[in-house]
């Protein structure tokens, strides 16, 4: 039997089982991918061969270097303004990583905080927060985000705020549920009986215990946030040009699609998919590792 064929099959099978939901396996490839993306994001200035925002109109629509018409100067081709695709992808990674992580953390802090307050304090605080959460959850994230972007105005900073405002509700619901069941646990009751102030209890007893869920939720949300940011950029209400964002590259790339300039679409798509896929796999692994009761997420 063909040695290389069986080797290829083994590699494929290995990758598939790594990429599957096997719980004993640490998701090495996703973590590596995310690590690479973070690395690119941090060192974009050094790693990118060209300035992502400045283009040379004489070099427009160059295909990647392995195709005819391409050159090694622009390894992954150029776009409609002559800008180097590779550099734009690298800087786009910075945008996705920064926006993604910041938004997730912002939403997480807001949502966890409100969730704890809501679950622990109960009463009208709970009612208000819950009603708002329900109402905001009813509005689909993308629609809400578009609305907010139209109202507040798009910029990288605003996008983070918008995404945070849209997604905190997901955290709040889950965390509140956890807090409700934590409240019944003995160590919390003891603290209440011992006269600890509500703030102390929330900080020292409740918060550490919901942190696990918050982290798992955060990793799962990362993929969602990145997709939403890309969608917003694609529609023109995300990160504003000429800053490079993968979604924006897709919007630009669409113009060249019918002409066959495939790299302007396929490459940014690939980056988005890689990042989201890795975040999801990591999140799934974390979920099983940290708290099997979060199956419903």
């Amino acid at each position: 039997m063909n040695g290389s064929r069986s080797a290829a099959l083994t590699v494929a099978w290995r990758f598939a089982s790594l990429a599957s939901f096997r719980t004993e396996g640490f998701p090495t490839i996703p973590v590596i991918i995310l690590g690479v993306l973070i690395f690119l994001a941090v060192f974009a200035n050094v790693l990118a061969p060209h300035d992502p925002e400045v283009g040379n109109l004489g070099e427009r629509f160059r295909p990647p270097f392995w195709q005819q018409g391409g050159s090694e100067k622009f390894p992954l081709g150029t776009d409609h303004l002559g800008r180097d695709v590779l550099s734009r992808l690298i800087f786009g990674a910075r945008v996705s990583i920064v926006v993604g992580f910041t938004a997730v953390i912002f939403a997480g802090v807001l949502g966890t905080g409100l969730g704890i307050l809501s679950g622990f304090l109960g009463g009208w605080v709970d009612q208000i927060i819950m009603r708002v959460t329900d109402a905001w959850l009813a509005l689909p994230a993308l629609t809400f985000a578009i609305f907010l972007a139209a109202v507040i105005g798009p910029s990288a900073m605003n996008i983070v705020i918008i995404l945070g405002l849209v997604y905190w509700t997901r955290y709040a619901r889950v965390i509140r549920g956890e807090v409700l069941s934590l409240k019944e646990r003995d160590f919390v009751r003891l603290a209440i009986v011992a006269g600890c102030s509500k703030r102390t209890i929330m900080k020292r007893h409740i918060l550490p215990n919901v942190l696990n869920s918050a982290i798992v939720l955060g990793t799962l949300m990362l993929g969602v946030v990145v997709v939403t940011e890309a969608a917003l950029s694609f529609l023109g209400v995300g990160v504003p040009p000429p800053q490079p964002a993968w979604g924006l590259m897709l919007a630009d790339g669409k113009k060249g699609l019918m002409a066959g300039y495939w790299w302007l679409t396929v490459l940014p798509c690939g980056c988005i998919v890689l990042m989201v896929l890795s975040a999801n796999l990591l999140g799934d692994w974390l979920r099983v590792k940290l708290d099997p009761q979060l199956r419903q997420l």
Partner: protein, 306 residues
């Protein structure tokens, strides 16, 4: 059952109120509302007129009152670009979006439910792993990526399908697939886990103890019970589809309300944006309510309790 329905109605009403309040507050409180409510390029006189019309110098709660009363009357503003009442515009585009969403939903259920069942019934074999990979891809590859790649492949390279517009079956195929893709994976996942739960239940055990053929156990006892959560989700997902179709409709130039929202944003036609968001949100709330009521009617456990 009545109490259940009344309670749901109450929650829906509160959600609608909060929704309108949220939108209202965001517009009024973030900077100068006239920037949004006035057509770009309007004169100072126009701006004053708008300010008066919306009562922007009056206290907030009065403004909110006007806001709600115009909503109830069906006056959702005029589009700057199209020069028609937005509600009219919205309603004229809604059927297209519903058509797309229905096609996408049909696709997602036709693929999702059977694969989910098969994955559950033959756990730990090749089918289960394949199903898991499919689910993973479905949930991780965004709809616009699928759409764009499909255009590249089927329109540009193969030339089989048209890349934009609507009007024939060929036009629907790609957008429906791109839109339904994510939901197919979600439905598959839910069907699988729901089916697994049901297969482990006592009544399925008893059905087997009765000596019923396995096919009957699955088709009759397991299937119907497993389907309940899936169909509930599907009902809500239909409306969600209409909403997230913004991107797919933009990619394929499909003339639905998603595209309308995109146009509103691109042309800085704020009344369109505001109205679309309100109507979409209201749609989700109302459909959720209807699904809850339908659920109550179907599930005998709820139907026959007080």
């Amino acid at each position: 059952m009545k109490r259940y329905i009344l309670k749901r109605l109450g929650y829906a009403a509160i959600s609608l109120i909060l929704l309108s309040l949220t939108i209202f507050l965001f517009v009024r409180l973030t900077g100068d509302p006239t920037v949004l409510l006035v057509e770009p390029g309007a004169s100072q006189a126009d701006i004053e007129a708008i300010r008066h019309q919306f009562g922007l110098d009056q206290p907030l709660w009065v403004q909110y009152g006007h806001f709600v009363s115009s909503l109830v009357r069906g006056d959702l503003g005029h589009s700057f670009y199209y020069r028609t009442p937005v509600l009219e515009l919205y309603l004229s585009r809604l059927p297209s979006s519903l058509l797309l969403a229905t096609a996408a939903m049909a696709f997602s259920l036709l693929i999702g439910i059977p694969t989910g069942i098969m994955a559950a019934v033959r756990v730990n074999r090749w089918w289960d792993s394949a199903g898991k990979v499919f689910a993973l891809l479905g949930l991780s590859v965004p709809s616009f990526a699928v759409g764009l790649l499909m255009i590249l492949f089927f329109s540009v390279y193969l030339g089989w399908l048209p890349s934009s517009g609507s009007g024939s079956v060929a036009h629907v195929i790609m957008p429906a697939f791109a839109l339904g893709w994510y939901f197919a994976a979600a439905h598959m996942r839910l069907t699988r886990s729901s089916m697994l739960d049901v297969l482990g239940s006592e009544y399925v055990k008893l059905a087997r103890l009765k000596g019923l053929p396995e096919a009957l156990v699955i088709a009759k006892h397991a299937f119907k019970n497993a389907l309940i959560p899936v169909l509930t989700l599907a009902g809500i997902n239909l409306v969600i589809m209409v909403n997230v179709a913004v991107v797919v409709e933009t990619v394929f130039a499909w003339p639905g309300i998603g595209r309308l929202l995109y146009e509103g944003v691109s042309f800085r036609d704020f009344p369109v944006v505001q109205a679309t968001v309100i109507l979409n949100g209201a749609m989700v709330v109302i459909v959720s309510l209807l699904v809850d009521i339908l659920y109550a009617v179907i599930d005998p456990r709820i139907r026959f309790t007080r």
